[in-house]
């Protein structure tokens, strides 16, 4: 038997975009139903993305720190790795966070409906779950269906060929791990497995790992990985995989690449695609583009009045922090408020060692768009804080609009770059210029002061390094 429930706002998908939208709508007085196909809400971010990967990366960092402590006269013996315990710790953290979310939902009287939801009309969703079929009649809907790892159809089906979710489950520690895709996800997982003992080979099709970032930010990481990994093969294509009994034979094509390599596991991290196929969107008039992204305006409205969409399903960058802000906007817009999602920039972070983070314009973007800018940069080799922590392989740079003088972008490579980039993002939204940032007193010695130094470098007022020759780049 099917039953029908009605609500003010139906949210399809319980990831960061979806639960944020649901909670915000509830706080605005709406009666909200949150539809989630998985057992727990939290989406990819909490269950098989950001959070579990950062847990494992923390373990990797501790291993690296212990090893590097030798330079300080602190010699630790090699760690004894209990993989079962590490899995449990990761599961505990995920359980704690998703449990917290469920509590927040309950306190707001957001009804969580488990099952797979499809649109069957402009005001109707049908949800298939364990308890049967439920029709949800809504006034407004917010689509937050997220994305999934992209699969390569020409690869064989084999338990040793992983996507990011498989890799996060820590099925085993392969002696040799090949990672297809030198983007953020591939490199983070590579780092985890390398620190747990795998010999890692990175295979990237473009000429640079983390292709979206500026080359100068990537170089310290690339140099380090070249030394510690089996190989970092850029400008290299994977042409096929033969699943042998004892190993995977991976065929490659690239100037500096071997014709093939052997590996015990292959992680495929070549990007993610929106989960927008077969959801009934086109039938009701919600339009998607060629890549499957739902088309929305800055109020997160789709082409169908009353139906909004947020998160990975509406476009790049596929980042939880973008989805969260879009979720808020959608909930407010659906509740009749005049909200719009118009950020000047969205920061990106690679939790590699060293970390790489950037926000706003990269130099290559500025150049390709003909934006005239001035650059200030500060190498961490001149930072007392970085030197004392043995983290001097870093750089902070900031880009300023030549006309207005306001900051338009920043990039950082080095320890905790992901945390440091927040100040640059704030500076962008606040319209700060180099004097504003340099004139803000930063505590010394800190990693954070490197942004002020980079700004001073652009303003020509730096004293912690030689003032750079002021070069106008257009």
């Amino acid at each position: 038997m099917s039953k029908t429930i009605t609500c003010d706002v139906a949210v399809l998908g319980g990831g960061p975009g979806g639960y944020t939208a649901a909670f915000r709508a509830a706080d605005l007085g709406k009666q909200v139903v949150l539809i989630e196909k998985e057992e727990r809400i939290g989406g990819v971010c909490l269950n098989e993305g950001c959070i579990p990967s950062k847990t494992l990366l923390h373990a990797a960092e501790v291993i690296a720190e212990a090893r590097e402590a030798e330079a300080y006269g602190l010699k630790y013996s090699a760690p004894e790795i209990n993989i079962e315990k590490l899995r449990e710790k990761k599961a505990d953290i995920v359980t704690k966070l998703t449990g917290g979310l469920a509590g927040l939902a309950k306190a707001r009287k957001v009804e969580i409906l488990r099952g797979f939801g499809r649109f069957t009309g402009k005001r109707l969703l049908v949800v298939e779950g364990e308890g049967g079929i439920t029709s949800v009649a809504f006034e407004k809907a917010i689509i937050a269906v997220g994305s999934s790892p992209m699969e390569l159809p020409f690869l064989p089906k084999d338990a040793r060929i992983w996507d990011s979710a498989d890799a996060l489950a820590l099925p085993f520690i392969p002696a040799r791990l090949a990672v297809l895709g030198g983007g953020i996800i591939g490199l983070e997982m590579a780092q985890v497995y390398a620190s747990l003992g795998s010999k890692v080979t990175i295979i990237e099709m473009l000429g640079q790992i983390i292709p979206a970032a500026d080359a100068d930010l990537v170089r310290p990481l690339a140099a380090k990985l070249k030394k510690t990994y089996e190989a970092v093969l850029t400008s290299t294509k994977l042409t096929g995989v033969e699943a042998g009994k004892h190993s995977l034979k991976i065929s490659l094509e690239g100037e500096k690449a071997p014709a093939s390599i052997e590996a015990d596991a292959l992680l495929v991290a070549v990007g993610r695609r929106p989960n927008t196929a077969d959801m009934g969107f086109e039938d009701i008039g919600v339009k998607t583009d060629g890549k499957g992204f739902i088309q929305v305006n800055e109020r997160m409205e789709t082409d169908v009045p009353g139906i909004h969409a947020v998160g990975d399903a509406v476009g790049n960058p596929m980042l939880a922090h973008k989805a969260v802000h879009e979720g808020k906007t959608a909930a407010e817009s659906a509740s009749g408020l005049k909200s719009a999602f118009t950020p000047m920039s969205i920061p990106s972070v690679a939790y590699t060692d060293p970390e790489i983070a950037w926000v706003g314009y990269t130099e290559k973007q500025a150049k390709s768009e003909g934006v005239s800018y001035e650059k200030g940069s500060f190498p961490w080799g001149a930072s007392g804080r970085a030197l004392s922590a043995d983290k001097d392989y870093g750089t902070t740079k900031a880009l300023f609009d030549t006309g207005s003088g306001r900051i338009i972008g920043a990039g950082i490579v080095g320890a905790r770059a992901g945390d440091l980039i927040a100040e640059a993002a704030l500076a962008i939204e606040m319209g700060a210029d180099a004097e504003d940032i340099g004139g803000t007193v930063h505590a010394h010695p800190t990693f954070a002061e490197t942004l002020a130094f980079a700004a001073e470098s652009a303003a020509g007022t730096i004293t912690d390094a030689l003032p750079s020759r002021k070069s106008k780049i257009s």
């Binding site: 080359a215 100068d216 140099a223 790049n316 960058p317 190498p379 006309g403 390094a465 020759r469």
Partner: protein, 463 residues
């Protein structure tokens, strides 16, 4: 052309530094600051940028070599002999400040998709159209700057930030600047007698209230009132909510749009006969009766398809016409509270029966006051029918931003000369008001003539 040597810059006391990567090979074109080689000391990795631009002819180092200050890296041909060759300064930035030489490589589908890290929002060209109120994004490099809280404040009040002067440090727009803008506009509006219609967007024609009309600054003398009670008994009743809302709209449209009304008679004798037959069948089958209005909707859609300007809107700056490729017909419905205009969406794609059902549903809910806002939006052309009441012709007011509205009056039997004799025919009076800025008189007459022809023979809607 001249050959120049490129040497290792001052390594600041470092000796025998390893070359970990060579980025260039003979034949490569390099620019000033293009990275040439990557050196690695104990810890730091640094790139050696090119001091000149030219074409590499010979590379003198290999990966794995060690180099010292002044060693030859490569030979390059440069355009001019006197090109300035600036060695690297001793500044710590110089070795790390490198330019991008990202090659634009052909990317397969998966490589392209791996740009999940892309930092800027996706292409917006095909996004659903923005709603009317300004969203106030803050573009990079614009003249003004407003922080997120100020943007939200302006959004709430419907103020377009591009028309606000910033008084904050370095020209930033403050909350007070947005408030001052409102006050300023309100006081101008009050002075000009338009208190109810402040135009917040006066400096930005893209946001003006009637497209293309610029400001609403008419300096009309006020209409005098009188002490009515001195002439006899009076009673005062507040206007209904709908009248209060629609009043300013009607007033604005009537003042802001140069109206012309074209009259025409449509012979609907055959149409009525056909409708009678259909309704007899419907009655037998227990189906809904079809009103004449539904057939007029169908005929109007056919005329709109032929004369696309009538389904258009004037662009915000008044310089172009935007023709819509969808046909959403607003139907003015008289309710006890006042006039509302629900919209029959995509009327071109719907059959007579479905339209009849939708109209019946919309008008009954309109009378109950239960229409949703969305159901009164998105119209492209309106019809106002007074046929059930009486009258001959009238001059309806265009429902901006639409550019035309059709008025229907009561159809009556009239003698019509068929060339040899007067015959009784059922005549429906049509009154078409249009925006004369968009539509000229000949077009207006053609539209009504065409409409009358279709109504005379509804089979023409098939053509």
């Amino acid at each position: 052309m001249a050959t120049q040597e490129i040497k290792v810059p001052d390594l600041q006391g470092l000796h025998d530094v390893a070359v970990v990567e060579v980025y260039v090979s003979p034949g490569d074109t390099i620019e000033v600051e293009s990275p040439l080689i990557s050196l690695e000391s104990d810890k730091a990795v640094m790139d050696v940028p090119s001091p000149l631009s030219g074409v590499i002819t010979e590379v003198k180092v290999n990966e794995g070599d060690t180099v010292n200050t002044g060693d030859l890296i490569a030979l390059a041909e440069v355009e001019k002999e006197d090109q300035e060759v600036h060695g690297s300064s001793g500044n710590p930035n110089s070795l790390t400040e490198v330019e991008e030489t990202e090659k634009n490589e052909a990317s397969s589908a998966w490589a392209e998709e791996d740009r999940a890290e892309e930092v800027r929002p996706a292409d917006t060209s095909e996004r659903p159209s923005p709603s009317e109120a300004p969203a106030n994004a803050q573009p990079f490099g614009s003249k003004y700057h407003a922080t997120p809280s100020v943007r939200a404040f302006a959004r709430e009040l419907g103020v377009d930030l591009s028309g606000v002067t910033g008084s904050g440090p370095k020209g930033r727009i403050t909350r007070e600047d947005v408030a001052a803008r409102i006050k300023n506009v309100m006081s101008i509006a009050e002075k000009s007698g338009f208190g109810a219609v402040p135009d917040l967007f006066a400096e930005n024609p893209a946001r003006s209230i009637i497209p293309g009309s610029g400001t609403s600054g008419f300096a009309l003398p006020p209409i005098p009132t009188a002490d009515y009670a001195s002439f006899g008994d009076i009673e005062t009743e507040e206007l209904s909510r709908i009248k209060k809302i629609s009043g300013p709209h009607l007033h604005r449209n009537w003042l802001g749009i140069p109206h012309v009304t074209q009259f025409e008679d449509a012979d609907i004798t055959d149409l009525e006969e056909f409708r009678g037959t259909i309704n007899e069948e419907n009655a037998a089958a227990g189906n809904r009766k079809i009103s004449p209005l539904i057939f007029v909707v169908k005929a109007v859609v056919a005329a709109l398809k032929r004369f696309g300007d009538f389904n258009g809107s004037l662009s915000a700056d008044g310089s172009s016409i935007i023709r819509k490729k969808y046909y959403n017909i607003g139907i003015a419905v008289d309710t006890s509270d006042g006039l509302v205009v629900p919209v029959l969406k995509n009327a071109d794609q719907k059959g007579i029966a479905l339209l009849a059902e939708e109209l019946s549903d919309l008008s009954s809910r309109a009378r109950e006051g239960k229409l949703k806002i969305d159901e009164m939006k998105g119209g492209t052309f309106s019809i106002s029918s007074l046929g059930g009441i009486g009258g001959t012709y009238f001059t309806p007011i265009v429902n901006a931003p639409e550019v035309a509205i059709l008025g229907l009056s009561r159809s009556t039997m009239k003698p019509v000369w068929n060339g040899s004799e007067f015959v009784p025919r059922l005549i429906l009076p049509l009154s078409l008001s249009y925006d004369h800025r968009v539509i000229d008189g000949a077009q207006g007459a053609r539209f009504t003539a065409y409409l009358a022809m279709i109504l005379a023979d509804i089979r023409r809607t098939l053509l």
